[in-house]
Amino acid sequence: MNETLTKNERSEHLVLQKREFLSFVLGDEQYALDIMSVKEIRGYEPVTKIANAPSFIKGVLNLRGDIVPIVDLRIKFDVGEAKYDEFTIVIMLNVFDRIVGIVVDAVSDVITLSEDDIKPPPEFGVAFDTKFLHGLAEVNEAMVIIVNIESLISSESLALFDSSNQDGQE
């Protein structure tokens, strides 16, 4: 009885694992992130600088009354050239009830992948630390790097959250 249940659960799980990802471009590489964490996509606008913040934190922006930090992943991971023109895109993410904008070179597509399509990431060769990666996927004969955006945004190296805030002490 128990076994059949778990089997059912597992198959259901596999079906649910078919997820949609938003693919984007950083430098020459194709990346993708879970589309459920995307709030909106907009063009780059000048931001208000924050003193003494790391260079990849461009500053803060007014998103309809919310003050939202903007992170340039190109600077953070040293890929491509951090230039800002009319094609530069900001993806607004909604992660852990917070809104964070990330600057990318372009957004390309929405792709649907099942868990089987995602291969484990290599130990080296990508700009991202592997702990921020879900894995790699082959889409239209090109390699797409699937980013675990939640762990990236909440990571200490990005320092977007107050550590005390996380513990709910603030």
Partner: protein, 654 residues
């Protein structure tokens, strides 16, 4: 058909709390020798309302206690029971207990039945003058003979209480179901229970009924509470400090708003909608005077917005008496404990202040009032020796001054002792200026770990107090000032902004960025002349207002390019924070405006030097500067030294 009774619980809790507050206030005013019948009636009514409500909702812990209280009050108002100071004290203790029971029901924590028993017994004792223990036994028998009503349910009751459901003593078998009254039968039963209270009251059987509680309660006690707990309760049935803390620590989530304020808001929204549709029409109109009309519409919109803002803010405003009203009790208890005669005067209790601030003011004010009683007011004989009135006076006052509320605590006690403060500062190795003004000396008491009390009491003197008071007040954007004359008394005045959401700010530009400086911190803004500037190593000092001010370059601090580099081309804002004075160098002033404070922490993190952010008219984000944290980096020593030297030079020249 089902009725969710729980939806009414909140209302009951709120109302009961109000009744308890009324009771407490009246009890404090009452003169035991010549009680005002009207206040006795009011107290009685309040107790009765709580009892009735608790009967309906099955809050038996409240019902039992209020019932006994009611008996006592009823006797008192009919002149059958003489009031004494002890009885009033007992009644006050009971209100404390009721408050804590209410809180337990509100938070859903289990009741401390032994405390309730203690309370009931103590009251019983005052009514009958006999020990409660003995009475219980007698009544147990009486009850079995006479009150069929109870007999029926007794068995049930016992069972339930053994299950330690926390309900049970007052409303018979349905009490534990009461919160889910979805069955009409049960609803009826609870109605019965309610009606039955009323009956009881009008008949002569009151005493017996009250005694029944006592008889039933021990069942709970024996089953639910350990002996240890009872012992504790016996030793110190109600420490006043802990009970009052318990009440204040819970922030109330709901506010009662005058309906007229809501109506005003509805009207304003109506006007806003009209203005909006007017603007839509005028915005698309091609008529020659369209622009002019649009302008008028915008003026109208501005007026609407401002009124709307005021209306919404006024809803959050509560009279400061919400804080002040707890002090008569505190003062009375403390004065008694310390054997001092203290009279409390309250002024400006109707001054309105933001609800969020009220909650944050409670602790600092409590601390200051305690300090005044403990350290400030002298003992009666000392006061007489010094030629003062026997009883000391503490005055709590509140008044609105511009965008601030000024709250002051004055006492006519001994005042701060300058020598002792300095001595303590030396002992604690605090850095201070021995030639400083009185004010500088007074400010030493805000240093962490400072206490001049010779002995540490549980009231004050642990030395953790004043720095916490100061920090609490600063955390809500306020300031605290001390003035004191030895032998005549001291006065602490706290100035806090009316509201936390909006701040009056000066918008300034540095490079291509805009910052907001809170207006309250600005002394003046000047463009310095070359002869006013002086370099001291890396530091630049500005001579103005007869002293040197260290200069902080905002562009450097905030890492901004393309800012003005020469102080003579820039504007310097003289800023006074609570600790330091300094000049903030910026490019230019943009103008003064009210800004809405937005949190940076919500989506990002705390930023050093920033109190928050705001959104300017053009949609851009501007950082609101946190003057306190900016001033931390500044070294004021050089400026102080230079000021002193120059003053000495000047004196010599004269």
């Amino acid at each position: 058909m089902s009725i969710d009774v729980e939806q009414f619980h909140q209302v009951f809790f709120d109302e009961s709390e109000e009744h308890l507050q009324t009771m407490e206030a009246l009890l404090l005013e009452i003169d035991p020798f010549a009680p005002d019948p009207e206040s006795l009636n009011s107290i009685f009514r309040a107790a009765h309302s709580i009892k009735g409500g608790s009967g309906i909702f099955g809050f038996s812990g409240l019902g039992g206690l209020t019932h006994v209280m009611e008996n006592l009050l009823d006797k008192a108002r009919h002149g059958e029971q003489e009031l004494t100071k002890e009885i009033i004290n007992q009644l006050l203790k009971t209100t404390d207990l009721l408050k804590s029971i209410l809180q337990d029901y509100r938070t859903g924590t289990s009741l401390n039945h032994s405390e309730i028993d203690e309370g009931i017994c103590a009251l019983e004792k005052t009514i009958n003058g006999e020990s409660c223990e003995k009475k219980r036994m007698d009544v147990a028998e009486d009850d079995n003979d006479g009150f069929g009503f109870f007999e029926l349910d007794d068995g049930d009751d016992t069972n339930q209480e053994n299950d330690s459901t926390g309900f049970g003593l007052f409303d018979d078998s349905d009490c534990s179901d009461a919160p889910y009254l979805d069955d009409s039968d049960e609803a009826k039963e609870s109605q019965e229970a309610f009606g039955f209270f009323d009956d009881e009251e009008s008949t002569a059987g009151q005493g017996a009924f009250a005694n029944v509680d006592c008889q039933k309660e021990p069942l709970i006690e024996s089953s639910a509470n350990s002996p240890r707990k009872i012992g504790e309760a016996g030793k110190n049935p109600l420490p006043p400090s802990s009970s009052s803390k318990k009440v204040t620590s819970i922030e109330s989530k709901s506010i009662r708003v005058d309906t007229s304020k809501v109506d005003l808001l509805v009207n304003l929204i109506g006007e806003l909608v009209i203005t909006q549709s007017m603007l839509t029409v005028q915005g698309t109109s091609e008529a020659p005077d369209a622009k002019e009309k649009l302008q008028l519409g915008l003026v109208e919109l501005e007026r609407n917005t401002r009124e709307l803002q005021e209306a919404v803010m006024s809803m959050r405003m509560l009279p400061i008496s919400f804080v002040f009203n707890r002090f008569p009790r505190l003062v009375r208890d403390l004065a008694e404990k310390l054997e001092k005669d203290v009279e409390l005067q309250i002024e400006g209790g109707a001054t309105e202040i933001d609800k969020g601030l009220i909650e944050k003011l409670v602790d600092p004010l409590t601390h200051l009032v305690r300090n005044s009683i403990d350290h400030g007011i002298e003992r009666p004989q000392v006061r007489l020796e010094r030629g003062k009135a026997k009883s000391g006076v503490i005055t709590l006052s509140a008044a609105q001054r511009g965008g601030n509320i000024v709250i002051s605590i004055r006492d006519d006690g001994a005042g701060l002792d300058k020598e002792r403060i300095l001595e303590k500062a030396r002992q604690n190795a605090l850095s201070f200026n021995p030639n400083g003004t009185d004010e500088d000396v007074w400010n030493l008491i805000f240093a962490p770990g400072f206490s001049t009390a010779d002995s540490v009491t549980d009231i004050s003197g642990r030395g953790v107090g004043m720095d916490v008071v100061k920090r609490n007040i600063e955390s809500i954007g306020g300031r605290i000032n001390i003035s004191s004359v030895q032998g005549e008394g001291s006065s602490f005045s706290i100035s806090v902004p009316l509201t936390l959401a909006i701040v009056d700010g000066m918008c300034v530009a540095s490079g291509d960025q805009v910052f907001v400086v809170p207006l309250v911190t600005i002394v003046e803004s000047i463009q310095p002349l070359p002869q006013q500037l002086r370099s001291m190593g890396n530091e630049k000092l500005l001579w103005v207002r007869d002293r040197y001010w260290p200069i902080l370059n905002l562009a450097k601090r905030m890492d901004i390019d393309h800012a003005v580099e020469q102080p003579t081309d820039a504007i310097i804002i003289l800023i006074e924070s609570s600790k330091k004075r300094f000049g903030l160098m910026i490019d230019k002033l943009l103008g003064q405006q009210q800004v809405v404070i937005k949190s940076l922490e919500q989506h990002y993190r705390r930023v050093p030097g920033a109190a928050g952010a705001t959104i300017m008219g053009d949609g851009h984000v501007a950082i609101i500067l946190d003057v306190e944290s900016l001033s931390e980096d500044i070294n004021t020593e050089a400026a102080e030294r230079q000021t002193n030297e120059r003053n000495v030079d000047q004196k010599r020249a004269i």
